[in-house]
Amino acid sequence: MVTKFGAIRWCHNEGPRTLVLIILLLVNVIIFAVTLSHYEQSDAVYYHRLMLGHSLAFARASAACLNFNCALVALPVCRNLLHFLRYLCVNKRLCKRNVRRLIDDNISLHRALAWLICFHAALHAASHYLNIERFVHAFDLPAGGNSSAGGSLLRTLSLLPGHRGINPVQRAGADPLVEAAVLLPGWTGLLLLCLLVAIVASAATAVKRARFETFWYTHKLFFLFYLLLLVHGMAGVVRPQSNLAAHKPAACASKFQLWGSGSLPECPVPTFSFAGSTTWMWLVAPAAIYAIEKLLRVSRRCRRVEVVRAVQHPSRVMELRLRCPGFAASPGEYVFLLVPEASQLQWHPFTLTSAPDDPYISVHIRTVGDWTKQVEQLYSQCYGKGDLTTGERDLLPRIYLDGPYGTASDGVTQYSVSVLIGCGIGVTPFASVLRDVWHQAGKTRSLRKLKRLYFYWICPDCRAFEWFAALLQDLERDLQRMDGDDYAQLLDIRVHLTGSVETRQAREIASREGDEADCLTGLRTRTHYGRPNWDLELRNLAAKHPDTSIGIFFCGPGQLAKDLNGRCNEFSNSTSSVFYFNKENF
């Protein structure tokens, strides 16, 4: 329901993304319309229009859109480029909050461009199918001409001396399938379509969940896709007329029997030439950006990273503390780790759980898959040893680090009220955010705009996250020691357990109801059982903080993200506060 606060409030959350998609569609429409209009009106392709009708114009227009979209599609997934843009927006404050939030939505832009590529590829393929059929049909008309003079004109254009006609089909009785397969754009086009289907199919949720590497390596076929795209237009099948000044098609078309004869000097034989493919011009910039991305990754592989300590936490969680000179990260950022002794090729992402002020870089690795189990075996020799000496560190397997890369959590301190919602493993990004808040509140007393921080931790049970519960206990205790200080009221922790509870456990919880600390988490804050009632929570937030911009930072399942996003829009419309929804993409 749109109230007096109206659609303007909806625009705070959805407006920037919608505007970008509208601009993208408009640019596609403009490119399509301009190219279509050129091929429908230009004299240079007059004879092509006679032979092929409107299908040539549609094929070229969709090709122009394909060039544009293929040039852009790789950019939203260039991590270093996004990190650089985020640095400009957050650290240098060169853009507004809404523009910075667009960077978090990069996958939506990537998908939109992918669907546009699929649409234009289908239109392009269908148009060229009609072109091939018409090329074959034009050639098959009898030499003496049929009842219409147009038929003989098309055959004449097909059989210009020296194979300089506009028709790639050069023999009678040709099979369109064979002609398409023999032509360079034909077989490259078929391969491109097959690659596109494979790449799109590999992006399905079922494939990613079953085995992420299948999606990853199939998506890497984009490199072959770009190569074939470069080669696709190089044969120059569509060649515009080059002697328009000497031969005016509109005037000379009806006198095709006299072309090149002395009796009609104003109509020499038309000549057609290929000006060259323009696809490479579109792809050179994204290719350069991608090359820089790869070079940066290679250069980071040369960076010396040392394992300072390995800590074993309950529930198969290993904490690795690393040291890397020159490494600087903001809270909530993530890195990629490569351990060649576990796998030569696989880089795995992990959120940093240390704050920028910590003297080390820490990641918490839960051993659930092959790679993590191998890594745990390699570093388990360090358990219980504390900080390792230089000699001990040199004996450990090498580890490489790529990053850091930013996430939506960069913007936590840009709001006066921020709400962090972590579901299950999604709580990990907020570990470093909370530690950073703790450091800043204790030392510099500088949290930019942040005055109040709510933290919701939702998980089926806490057993996998004892390390995180210990962090929260330290935070709660230290912040409450700031007696009388504003920061004592800074953090509000809500823990929600959503899993089923054993009968014995329920009895113990009930019997320890009066204890100072919660029996499950050890926090002074009581654990809630069941999912939060988000309507109530958001309404309470709006009531407590009227006329405020409230940042909601969420890391968890997609369905809950959609639900929360909708509620943020709803409460932004119906209350005086504005809820900005930010989702971690991981």
Binding site: Y129, P176, L177, L193, V501, Y529
Partner: protein, 165 residues
């Protein structure tokens, strides 16, 4: 696992085959009759491929209640052969060539999955679809309503004792 990729590739290709068949029939051209073959078999292949169980964390989720319970349909090598039967004739009609090639790729992926020993699971076929329970077995399900608010001492005294809470 390769079979999820084969399944998704096949589903997408079957959809494209159907659309291309409509285009081939409408546009005419050489061997457009194969478009009728594609139009009949493409949707059937899509229906066959759509019900698929896939693993989401510890549970198997079905995309749609399975329409086919024939034993052979669940075998990956049967799918490989079916894809070949549908794809090979359609290769000879130009609008259907690209989706046919994709179906051939799916057939190869299904063959590779068979050789690797993968199996296609229908969601109701085994215990993997049971709800996850914490270690220790028995658990209480959470209440659907929040607990009643505790009464104040005054209310307790006036009511003559403790409430059922």
């Amino acid at each position: 696992e390769i079979s999820p990729l084969a399944n998704e590739n096949s589903l997408l290709s079957a959809g494209i085959l159907t659309a291309s068949s409509v285009f081939a029939i409408a546009a005419g051209g050489s061997r457009w009759g194969l478009g009728i073959y594609g139009l009949l078999l493409g949707p059937l292949l899509a229906l066959l491929e759509y019900p698929r169980a896939f693993k989401v964390e510890r549970r198997w989720q079905s995309r749609l209640y399975p329409l086919f319970r024939w034993p052979l349909i669940g075998k990956l090598y049967t799918r490989c052969v079916l894809h070949l039967v549908v794809a090979l004739p359609c290769l000879f009609c130009l609008p259907l060539t690209a989706p046919s090639l994709s179906l051939l790729i799916s057939a190869c992926l299904y063959l590779a999955a068979t050789l690797r020993g993968e199996k296609f699971c229908l969601p109701e076929s085994d215990a993997m679809n049971r709800a996850y329970l914490p270690a220790g077995g028995r658990g209480m399900s959470l209440p659907t309503q929040p607990p009643p608010m505790p009464q104040s001492q005054t209310e307790l005294a006036n009511s003559g004792g403790f409430s059922n809470y």
